[in-house]
């Protein structure tokens, strides 16, 4: 029996709607013959059968939307007997993630490959499949306590706990490759055994082995947002040649203007005035002067210069972050920018942003100073080519004309994509922002 799973048809796709079965249970299906159709967005896709055989079971009915890697059907390819050899040779289902690297086997009966093992364990949730894969669990050894003896997350946790409690540690380096299973596997009780004594922890080698978490740890699936952030961050690091340059900026004049206007702004507009809109204002002026910082790279060869200046503002959420965009930020006053910041941040935190408010940014600003950071090296928000980080503004003794003075100082860190922007340009750009902020003379309200 071979499990057929919902394939992933693209990077951003996490689920698909099964729109039509092209075969009925009992039908013979050839390898690569269209088996069902799925629909995502405005695309209908025919999914071919991974193997030749008889469609044994359809698990997902037409019209249902399921996550990728959910089992949608099973095909009897004539190998349902425990003799696993021919199945092991068969190619894995279209989009099923590759099985983990095989564990060194002792002589004797070879362990069947993951797909086959899982087949004997009944339908499994994606979470269980994932846990089993990540922890290298042979599911045939786990007793299912769910409906129809299905293996649940709790069963896996109990199994893991019992394994870790067992005296022999599979991670111990000097031991020869141990067969994961005794020849006659004892049936694992569903009830977890008593927690291991603390000494057991000390014997675990120092090597970090995330595939078998230590006892007492907790395995939890990332939220979808967390997964997207993780993907985006790694994608960005892989895409751009990140370099960060840091300039020290004297905010004393800005601080004076702000101090003077603060109470008035609060009374008149109902929000407090921070340093950030001053930085945004200066950034817009500098972006107009250095349009390469307000650009994107298309393919490997083209530079897209954006006409509009749409500033992304990183907003920290309880368990993640989002970068809403102030469109045409260069057309706004300091007060207007402050209003946009307050509004977008509030709605980001209450999850009321509209989709169009988080796209089309051309440059981003992150205000880690609000959490006390002096300076950091931010990650570029793709497909942009630079991001400005604003450190906390602090009164600092500085030397001016050989005298010591107390000034309001902050560090501005610009991370830029060295594919497109060289250090000299990045420093001219940041220098421009610095010059505007240090020479701030106009009143704002």
């Amino acid at each position: 029996m071979i499990d057929v799973v919902m394939p992933q048809m693209g990077e951003s796709i996490v689920e698909g709607t099964l729109t039509k079965w092209l075969k009925k249970p009992g039908d013979t299906v050839g390898r690569d013959e269209p088996l069902f159709e799925i629909s995502t967005d405005k695309v209908d896709t025919e999914i071919p059968s991974p193997v030749a055989g008889v469609l044994a079971e359809v698990l997902i009915e037409e019209g249902k939307t399921v996550g990728i890697n959910t089992i949608v059907a099973r095909i009897n390819d004539g190998s349902s007997a425990p003799a696993a050899a021919p199945v092991a040779a068969a190619p894995a289902p279209v989009a099923a993630p590759p099985p983990p690297a095989p564990v060194p086997e002792a002589d004797g009966t070879p362990e069947p490959v993951a797909t086959v093992v899982e087949e004997t364990a009944g339908p499994l949730s994606p979470l269980v499949r994932k846990m089993a894969r990540e922890n290298n669990i042979d599911l045939s050894k786990v007793k299912g306590t769910g409906a129809g003896n299905r293996i649940t997350k709790q069963d896996l946790e109990a199994y893991l706990a019992s394994k870790t409690a067992a005296p022999k540690s599979q991670a111990e380096p000097p031991a020869p490759p141990t067969p994961q299973t005794p020849t006659a596997p004892p049936v694992v009780q569903a009830a977890p055994p008593p927690p291991p004594p603390p000494q057991a922890v000390a014997t675990i080698p120092q090597t970090v082995d995330i595939s078998s978490p230590a006892p007492g740890t907790r395995v939890e699936q990332m939220s979808v947002m967390r997964q997207r952030i993780a993907e985006h961050m790694v994608f960005s690091k892989h895409t751009s040649a990140h370099v960060t340059t840091v300039h020290k900026v004297d905010f004393t004049k800005v601080a004076k203007v702000r101090e003077k206007a603060k109470a008035n702004v609060q009374a008149q507009y109902g929000f407090s005035l921070t340093f950030l809109p001053f930085v945004l204002k200066a950034t817009c002026v500098a972006l107009r002067q250095f349009p390469l910082l307000n650009a994107s790279i298309q393919g490997d060869t083209n530079i897209i210069y954006h006409r509009d200046i749409n500033l992304g503002i990183a907003v920290a959420l309880e368990n993640g972050l989002i970068v809403p965009v102030i469109r045409n930020a260069d057309e706004k006053s300091v007060i207007g920018l402050q209003r946009s910041i307050a509004d977008l941040a509030a709605r980001a935190r209450s999850r009321q942003l509209r989709p169009e408010e988080v796209k089309d940014g051309t440059f981003s600003v992150t205000n880690f100073g609000s959490f006390g950071s002096v300076f950091a090296t931010p990650v570029i928000n793709q497909p942009q080519v630079a991001i400005l980080g604003v450190g906390t503004v602090e009164k600092t003794p500085v030397v001016i004309d050989d005298a010591i003075a107390i000034r309001s100082i902050a560090y501005l860190a610009l991370t830029f994509d060295h594919r497109l922007i060289d250090g000299a340009l990045a420093d001219q750009f940041t220098g421009k922002i610095k010059a505007i902020l240090e020479g701030w003379s106009e009143e704002i309200s």
Partner: protein, 229 residues
């Protein structure tokens, strides 16, 4: 540095991947469908390179696999009396209208030689149209959750795609000087939003100019050398 040289060589070869453009002019929907199916089979077997079919259809209303019959505001018989054909097809998306004054593009691409990503493909088709329109001074863009190309005046191009073994068929329809009254027979793509055309936005460009712009933009976005037939 032999490795660098061979990389450059590989780079050159990759950027020279070809796509053939066939502008077939006015073709009945069923005939174009048959032609597409032939091309898809040939493309799947590797007998031909990527193709971009450009056609114009006589009045026709088509319904995608996920179409909602309630979005068809006139019965097929009523449509027939007005000279409009009606077909149900295997593309993604809901109901749409094709007719004279519209450029319909059917890219037959093997996505395994591109990105293996159906969403990225749809976004790229949108980009092709947006870029081409920009050349005529029309500001168009995407809307989250509403595939197609949008202007401030409404939807200007519709997209619906079918994929079989990573080979694409169906595609996009751009309103150049379409008689927009025909859209009254349907709720395009199930969205109760206005439809517009290049002409309605004040652009007098001729069909050939728009086709040329689309082909150029297609070559850039998909990184293909476009050969005209």
């Amino acid at each position: 540095m032999p490795s660098a040289v061979s990389e450059v060589h590989a780079e050159t070869q990759r950027s020279q991947r070809n796509a053939r453009v066939c502008d077939l002019g006015l073709v009945r929907y069923v005939d174009a469908l048959e032609r597409q199916n032939q091309f898809v089979e040939l493309r799947q077997s590797g007998a031909i390179s990527d193709q971009l079919l450009i056609v114009e259809h006589p009045h026709v209303v088509t319904m995608g696999r996920n179409g909602h019959p309630e979005n068809l505001l006139a019965q097929p018989e009523v449509l027939a009396r007005s000279g409009i054909q009606f077909y149900e097809t295997d593309r993604g998306g809901d109901v749409t209208y094709h007719g004279p004054g519209q450029i319909v593009g059917y890219p037959i691409l093997d996505l395994r030689e591109w990105k293996r990503d159906v969403h990225a493909y749809v976004r790229a088709v949108e980009e092709v149209i947006v870029d081409a329109l920009a050349g005529f001074g029309i500001a168009a863009g995407r809307e989250a959750g509403a595939t197609g190309v949008w202007t401030s005046d409404g939807k200007i191009a519709a997209i619906g795609v079918h994929i079989s073994r990573w080979v694409t068929s169906h595609g996009f329809a751009l309103n150049v000087d379409t008689d927009l009254n025909y859209f009254r027979y349907i709720v395009p793509c199930g969205l109760t939003r206005p439809v517009t055309s290049m002409r309605k936005l004040g652009c007098q460009a001729r069909r050939e100019e728009v086709v040329a712009a689309l082909v150029r933009s297609f070559g850039i976005v998909f990184d293909r050398q476009m050969e005209n037939l």
